[in-house]
């Protein structure tokens, strides 16, 4: 089954390009550290998922590129074509002359309705190229105007036009020290709207990825390209083919559906965080060896202590011992910084993954009491190594990972809203104070729900 990627705005297009790059280069890599047959099987599954190989010599990415101004898309298209290994479909993009001006209302209320037909036409065409449609993956930032506003509108349209398809939004959170002054307004409006239409939101925070680049990848002068490459690696580690069932004979064909089924049992809880280890500069890979027990131990502690990467993990944080407190969803006996999960998914790629013991992730004390721990935890595996990492483990988690960041964004936005600053810029395009209040209410609800886990 195939995934159609929708790249929205400057951020969405820049990241989308890196994602296809990473996937393509991973697939071309013959050092899969597994049998030839396995490698071919992986390659075929990956290609079906992300590329179309009709009459063209190089694989064509299954993507629709959307932006309200032309510079980024034209750059993205030419960079891809220049690689010689893959490209975008020449017709599968839409841009205008003038951007959204970081104005969510402009993206949502003006550009959205105005260009709905053309955009949905392009999406329809890509969907039809798929033998079987696995669903949609949209990439956008929530700080700007196009990715955020137009992205929210397009997501709604996708939901209306394809009511039974899976819809995953990949959302980039801006630097908390400020990239766009109205970023918190745009974020609140985006998140509240996406929550209504999408199946889940997979989040990457610029601050976190920046730290990974600085401390793990040892990059001195970090550019957005560096940041986007780390994000692409993490996404690839989730979406490249895996076996989802024990003793499965072929690569799973429904990645988005499987993801939703394992991680989103309740529509009130849709925020997914992503962690991947190990991460290191490419030239260090040759000198490093990893052990599965070590990787699993670190990944589990990253989950429990809400650590963003494998350095600086707080090993003191432990889940509460079962039986020592009255089990209740409003239990106040859990240590405050312990990260409670609803559901987790661990993805293992590399040799000897059969031998890995994931029992520590099935510990009931990690989870809320609603789901059977057996159902709250899943693992996907493949022997085939990913992106030159001999062993790699990823965690996609529906937990309190994003509670604090979300609370911060809402708090700052509320603070600004109380002073009414910048509101005239939004009402100019049809988003009124009422709409803001609705969004705030919706997000306070999400915060409250995750807090009381």
């Amino acid at each position: 089954m195939s995934i159609v990627t929708v790249q929205l705005g400057q951020c969405g297009n820049q990241i989308g390009h890196e994602v296809f790059n990473t996937i393509c280069s991973d697939v071309r890599d013959t050092h899969g550290l597994c049998s030839k047959k396995e490698n071919e099987s992986y390659r075929d599954a990956s290609k079906e998922r992300f590329f179309c190989e009709e009459q063209s010599e190089v694989p064509v990415a299954r993507a629709v590129l959307i932006d309200m101004e032309p510079k980024v898309i034209s750059q993205t298209l030419s960079l891809a074509a220049r690689s010689g290994y893959w490209k975008y479909d020449d017709g599968s993009h839409f841009s205008q002359k003038q951007g959204s001006g970081n104005n969510w209302a402009n993206g949502y209320s003006v550009h959205g309705p105005r260009h709905k037909e053309v955009i949905m036409d392009l999406v329809q065409k890509e969907a039809e190229k798929c033998d079987r449609l696995a669903g949609f993956f949209t990439i956008m930032s929530m700080a700007g105007g196009t990715g955020s506003g137009l992205g929210a509108f397009v997501t709604q349209c996708l939901r209306d036009a394809f009511p039974t398809s899976f819809l995953l939004n990949h959302v980039i959170w801006p630097y908390s020290t400020g990239e766009v002054i109205v970023q918190n307004y745009n974020s609140v409006l985006t998140l509240s709207h996406l929550y209504k239409s999408a199946d889940a939101l997979l989040v990457h925070e610029n601050d976190v990825v920046h730290k990974i680049c600085a401390q793990l990848m040892n990059i001195k002068q970090i550019s957005f390209k560096d940041i986007n490459q780390v994000i692409a690696h993490q996404l690839g580690s989730v979406f490249q083919p895996t076996y989802t069932a024990e003793g499965g004979l072929h690569y799973s064909r429904n990645p988005l559906g499987d993801l939703m089924e394992t991680l989103v049992p309740h529509p009130e809880f849709k925020m997914l965080g992503l962690r991947n280890i190990p991460q290191m500069p490419e030239n260090s890979l040759a000198y490093s060896t990893f052990s599965w027990p070590g990787l699993i131990k670190h990944l589990r502690q990253m989950l429990i202590a809400n650590a963003k990467m494998e350095e600086g993990i707080d090993w003191q944080v432990q889940p509460p011992r079962l039986g020592s407190s009255i089990p209740s969803s409003h239990s106040t006996n859990k240590p405050l910084h312990f990260n409670t999960s609803i559901a987790n998914l661990v993805i293992l790629r590399g040799k000897d993954m059969h031998s890995v013991d994931l029992g520590s992730f099935q510990d009931p004390s990690l989870y809320t009491s609603w789901l059977n721990p057996k159902d709250a935890f899943h693992s996907w595996k493949t022997l085939r190594a990913f992106n030159k990492y001999e062993k790699s483990a990823s965690l996609v988690s529906n937990s309190q990972f994003l509670l604090k960041p979300l609370d911060n964004v809402v708090g700052k936005a509320w603070n600004m809203f109380a002073s009414k600053a910048y509101i005239h810029q939004y009402t100019k395009f049809g988003i009124e104070e009422e709409d803001f209040l609705d969004s705030f209410t919706a997000l306070e609800q999400v915060i409250s729900s995750y807090s009381s886990l």
Binding site: E69, V72, G145, T177, Q221, S223, K412, Y422, T441, E444
Partner: protein, 475 residues
């Protein structure tokens, strides 16, 4: 890609404008080696086929034939415009873009605004329409003028109002040169305050400039370039005040160095809209992020570095110095000290070989020493453009919506009141048709209100922070 049209009004406006077009051509020539008319060029220039003699049709692609500036040159005296048309830039303009008269406005805002305004209204509208028609997607009008005289101030603000009426969807950025205390035009306070009312009501964004600041910067550079420090040779074409490498070959006039600074300001402001980068910052993003309330649209600007030394290696210390300088008092283009006043918002547009980590590092480093209003503690808008300005490997434009503009406005008000109390020179204004005493009282009232808004914000500075309580959800 969008287009912008420059409307230069009066002596100051046209002299600055002239430097702008010259340096714009220089910048594009530096980047565009193949002579192809590209989207970046189209933002300020038309490509015209002049082989058939007259004004041929616009050519949208392919080789550059003849570049024409998207501009309107307006002056009620002929001297300055004539000089431009006889100079090396004569082919960049055509006669249809000019509106001139003979006798000037006599440093009288009323003459410029009321008399010439009504007289030339239709002519101006027609020429503006023509300029707009040549644009595929017109985004912005840039007005360049001074506040103290008669034409730039009066007719310039008349055009501003006209633009709002005729092209309400197009942004209006105004670069206004404010008179200094020692201005030799006695009535400059009247002209400036009358013009301020128009700026308050009809401009989207105003970049106030003071000659004193430009003068100080020019002197500073002069001293640096002539200090003869061993091993530090300044790259001539990197000077923010220099015309080196441009079309201008004649003797540099005294205001040229100062006007080049303004030209560079406009080039840097529009660089991210014209050229690519990893984090684009378009003109509509500037108005969106830097104007929290409609009337508070005055932005203090600073450009760094003022020059680049000839040595190639730039350690990150020097890069950080560039950021520090942007906030220092002597790099601002008006007499103001943003560091000790209150920031409502701040934009940083970086050009050249600078990455996001450099930007983040410096924001974190400088933030503790700056005061931001309580509801905008992280009030930063950032942009990264890959193409540096001519002669530099990197540069920074900082735009601040900061209460430090208040002293400039207060001083203006004081100078106005000194004259107004005595009714000095008032008759020159009042006998112009359409001009009444109420124009004056409304103007000073508008300015007072604006000052009061800044006062109220200043009062919140350093006070205790009480965040408003959040919405409560019923569980």
């Amino acid at each position: 890609m969008t287009q912008s049209v420059v409307v230069q009004v009066g002596q100051c406006g046209n002299q600055v404008g002239c430097r702008f077009w010259d340096l714009a051509l220089r910048e594009h020539a530096n980047v565009n080696k193949k002579g192809i008319y590209d989207e970046a060029l189209s933002s300020f220039f038309r490509n015209v086929d002049t082989r058939s003699g007259g004004d041929g049709p616009d050519i949208y692609k392919g080789k550059i034939c003849s570049l024409k500036a998207r501009a309107l040159l307006i002056d009620m005296e002929e001297g300055v415009v004539n000089e431009i048309l006889q100079g090396p830039l004569r082919d960049v303009f055509d006669s249809k873009q000019l509106i001139t008269d003979v006798s000037g406005s006599g440093n009288n805002w009323a003459v410029g605004h009321k008399l010439y305004g009504s007289q030339y209204r239709e002519n101006i509208v027609e020429k503006l329409r023509k300029a707009a028609e040549h644009c595929e997607c017109l985004q912005c009008f840039f007005i360049i003028h001074s506040m103290g005289g008669g034409t730039g101030s009066g007719l310039g603000t008349f055009v501003l109002k006209l633009l709002e009426d005729e092209f309400p969807e197009v942004y209006r950025f105004v670069t206004s040169v404010y008179p200094s205390g020692e201005d030799d035009v006695i009535t400059s306070p009247y002209n400036s305050v009358l013009a301020m009312k128009e700026l308050n009501e009809h401009a989207d964004c105003v970049l106030p400039i003071e000659n004193e600041s430009l003068f100080d910067i020019v002197n500073k550079i002069h001293q640096m370039a002539n200090s003869g420090k061993l091993g530090s040779t300044v790259k001539q074409n990197s000077l923010i005040t220099s015309s080196a490498g441009s079309a201008k070959t004649a003797q540099e006039k005294p205001f040229d160095a100062m006007n080049n600074i303004l030209a560079n300001l406009l080039l840097n402001l529009t660089s991210s809209a014209r050229f690519e980068g990893s984090l684009n910052m378009d003109l509509n993003e500037i108005t969106m992020n830097l104007v929290p309330f409609p009337r508070l649209h005055y932005l203090v600007s600073s450009l760094t570095p003022l020059y680049t030394l000839a040595d190639v290696n730039v350690p990150s210390r020097r890069l950080d110095q560039m950021f520090s300088d942007a906030f220092s008092r002597d790099h601002q283009l008006i007499q103001a000290d943003p560091k000790h006043s209150l920031y409502l918002a701040c934009a940083l547009l970086v050009r050249g070989n600078v990455q996001v980590s450099d930007l983040r590092r410096n924001i974190e480093r400088l933030k503790p020493s700056l005061h931001f209003v309580s509801w905008n503690q992280e009030g930063w808008k950032t942009g990264l453009c890959s193409v540096p300005p001519v002669g530099h490997s990197h540069s920074l434009l900082a735009l601040a919506n900061n209460t430090c503009v208040k002293p400039t406005f207060i001083e203006l008000k004081d100078r106005f009141m000194k004259l107004y109390k005595k009714k000095a020179h008032l008759h020159h204004y009042l006998h112009v048709d359409g001009m009444e005493q109420s124009c004056f009282s409304e103007a000073i009232s508008s300015l007072s209100d604006l000052i009061e808004e800044y006062n109220e914000l200043d009062a919140t500075k350093g006070g205790p922070r009480t965040d408003p309580s959040r919405l409560k959800i019923v569980v």
